[in-house]
């Protein structure tokens, strides 16, 4: 028995401990500490911390939808353009009717439709979700541009703006409530209901799931509709917060959303998903953006430092996880 082999034993024992599943929180904590120390005065300001969470709201909500999609081993690239189309549809409907619920229904309806189209091509025509959603990404973006001929549409409906943007309830901003609601629903569906178990099983081994009597096709369809609906909700939140809608909304969100899900511990290859992780991932991204602006770096430097921080944060978090 050499020292080398017994220290290898210690390492092996450490690796065996399941806290490796939770260390994504370490990366988060490290980044938080870093900014808290270097930018104390501004970063730790309660208003600033609230901003971080509120700004992350649409990303968090979409990341939750994406956790389900990735968990089944698919991907949804169309969420970004669905955001814009949902926001614009809601704004146009509001302009026409001035009924907040018709606006909301229009936005969410568009989301459900996009998800359904994605689902049809993925499950019935059996195409890879990457290609289907890449195609609908362009398609939906084109429709969004056509809809109002590239014009931004103001949203002035009071209840709508309160409900999806500037409102607050019990002293807590409405966007925070939306985040909490999405987390609760997402967590409940993934952890507490059969649906979640089926989602993970389909992503882990679709044929084993199939012979276990799981309706694989339906599960795949559902997650795609769900994902588009979260994008549509994000669109409403943007419209509410900006009191207007525009065809470029959400355009740059796709990668951030997927990254938030994956940083949180969801696997790009299916079978593993965590809703709480998506929150942490999305807050991490939001926090980094916030901290770098506060640090007064120029834009190129922000990009460079952001890359480095993500690498380091994730290295601390995910290192040592087995990844065969």
């Amino acid at each position: 028995m050499t020292t080398a082999s017994s220290s290898a034993g210690v390492l092996a024992r450490l690796r065996g401990v399941t806290w490796t599943n939770y260390v994504v929180y370490i990366g988060f904590a490290l980044v938080f500490l870093y900014f808290a120390i270097t930018q104390t005065q501004y970063f730790l300001n309660p208003a600033n911390l609230t901003n971080i969470v509120i700004q992350a709201a649409p990303i968090t909500i979409m990341a939750i939808g994406t956790v389900f999609v990735l968990s089944t081993g698919q991907i949804d690239l169309s969420i970004g353009s669905t955001v814009a189309l949902s926001a614009l549809s809601a704004a146009v409907a509001l302009e026409a009717t001035q009924q907040w619920w018709i606006g909301a229904a229009a936005g969410l309806g568009v989301g459900a439709l996009v998800g359904f189209v994605n689902g049809v091509f993925v499950t019935w025509v059996r195409l890879p979700s990457f290609l289907v959603t890449l195609a609908t990404m362009g398609l939906v973006a084109g429709i969004a541009r056509q809809l109002t001929d590239l014009q931004a549409v103001p949203v002035s409906n009071g209840p709508f703006v309160w409900l999806f943007g500037g409102g607050s309830l019990l002293g807590i901003p409405i966007l925070l409530w939306w985040t909490i609601a999405a987390l609760a629903v997402g967590w409940h569906l993934l952890r507490q209901r059969r649906y979640g178990a089926h989602v993970l099983a389909v992503g882990n081994d679709a044929s084993a799931a199939r012979v276990s009597g799981i309706k694989v096709t339906r599960v795949r369809m559902m997650v795609l509709i769900g994902s588009s609906m979260t994008a549509a909700l994000a669109g409403l939140l943007y419209a509410g917060r900006l009191e207007s809608a525009r065809y470029t909304l959400g355009e740059t969100d796709l990668m951030t959303v997927i990254a938030a899900a994956i940083v949180g511990g969801t696997s790009l290859f299916g079978g593993k998903g965590t809703v709480l992780g998506a929150l942490i991932g999305s807050l991490l991204m939001s926090m980094i953006n916030n901290g770098l602006i506060l640090a007064g770096l120029n834009v190129s430097q922000q990009m460079i430092v952001r890359g480095v921080i993500i690498l380091l944060a994730v290295s601390f978090s995910l290192r040592g996880k087995k990844n065969n």
């Binding site: 209901r193 178990a197 089926h198 099983a201 081994d205 084993a208 012979v211 009597g213």
Partner: protein, 251 residues
């Protein structure tokens, strides 16, 4: 082949089953009845087409030709859930378990227990029942909450058998169920299979173990290179004759 009469219909009847994969014919022509309370063994060399037949009956493959009847009714399964809904339970040779899920989830996959008014997953209940089921088979597992991929080969096979036998209601298909099991565990599983028979199930078991076939089966059907060589009562045949039919050394 018997003509259907007023007596209770045969639980499982296969007529003229044929299966091609591209150019390869995996099964030429296969007919078989499995009665209630009967164990039929399906034997044959490697690659003879046994698993293919099991997968056809369980809805995983569609036969190129031929017909399956359950309890006298012709059925067409589009997928495995169809068959499962009609009471066909299966232990597949490649087990068909979900590796990154806990043992209890695998045991209850597609039929999860729920509790409370809104139907929340009852993880505790599933884990408890799983442990009990596994214990009856003498298969020791570290925990019902262990991840399936951390189990040994025999432990996994034990789980697959527990799952199929627990839910068995009419027809049970077992594809080499004891191949990875130890001596004691094998004995327990054979006991369990006999109990299924006593409960009136129709059991079709694939096995390479002739001793096992002779211990538990009522009839044996032999496949050789996709061709059905014979179906015999075990009381009408001998160990040597079955082996000869399998290997084709005596025709």
């Amino acid at each position: 082949m018997s003509i259907i009469t007023a007596e209770p219909a045969t639980p499982l009847r296969l007529t003229g089953i044929r299966k091609k994969f591209g150019g390869i014919v995996a099964i030429e022509q296969f007919d078989l009845d499995v009665g209630a309370g009967e164990i039929v063994a399906l034997v044959g060399d490697n690659g003879a087409g046994k698993s293919t037949l099991i997968k056809i009956i369980s809805g995983l493959y569609q036969p190129s030709e031929g017909e399956i009847s359950l309890n006298g009714e012709p059925v067409v399964f589009r997928d495995a859930s169809d068959a499962r809904e009609k009471g066909v339970e299966v232990v597949y040779q490649d087990l068909a378990l979900v590796p990154e899920q806990p043992v209890y989830m695998n045991m209850f996959l597609g039929r999860e227990l729920t509790k409370g008014p809104i139907g929340i997953l009852d993880r505790k209940g599933m884990a408890k029942q799983t442990q009990e089921l596994v214990d009856t088979l003498d298969v020791r597992i570290p925990s019902a909450r262990a991840t399936l991929s951390d189990l040994s080969g025999g432990q996994r096979q034990g789980i697959a058998i527990c799952r199929a036998t627990h839910w068995a209601s009419g027809i049970v298909l077992l594809d080499e169920p004891t191949a990875a099991l130890g001596v004691a565990e094998t004995a327990k599983v054979e006991e369990l299979i006999v109990k299924l028979k006593e409960r009136g199930m129709a059991v079709l078991i694939v096995s390479h173990n002739m001793d096992q076939v002779f211990r538990i089966a009522d009839r044996v059907s032999v496949l050789r290179r996709g061709t059905q060589v014979a179906t015999k009562k075990l009381s009408d045949t001998s160990h040597n004759e079955v082996v000869a039919m399998i290997t084709g050394l005596v025709s």
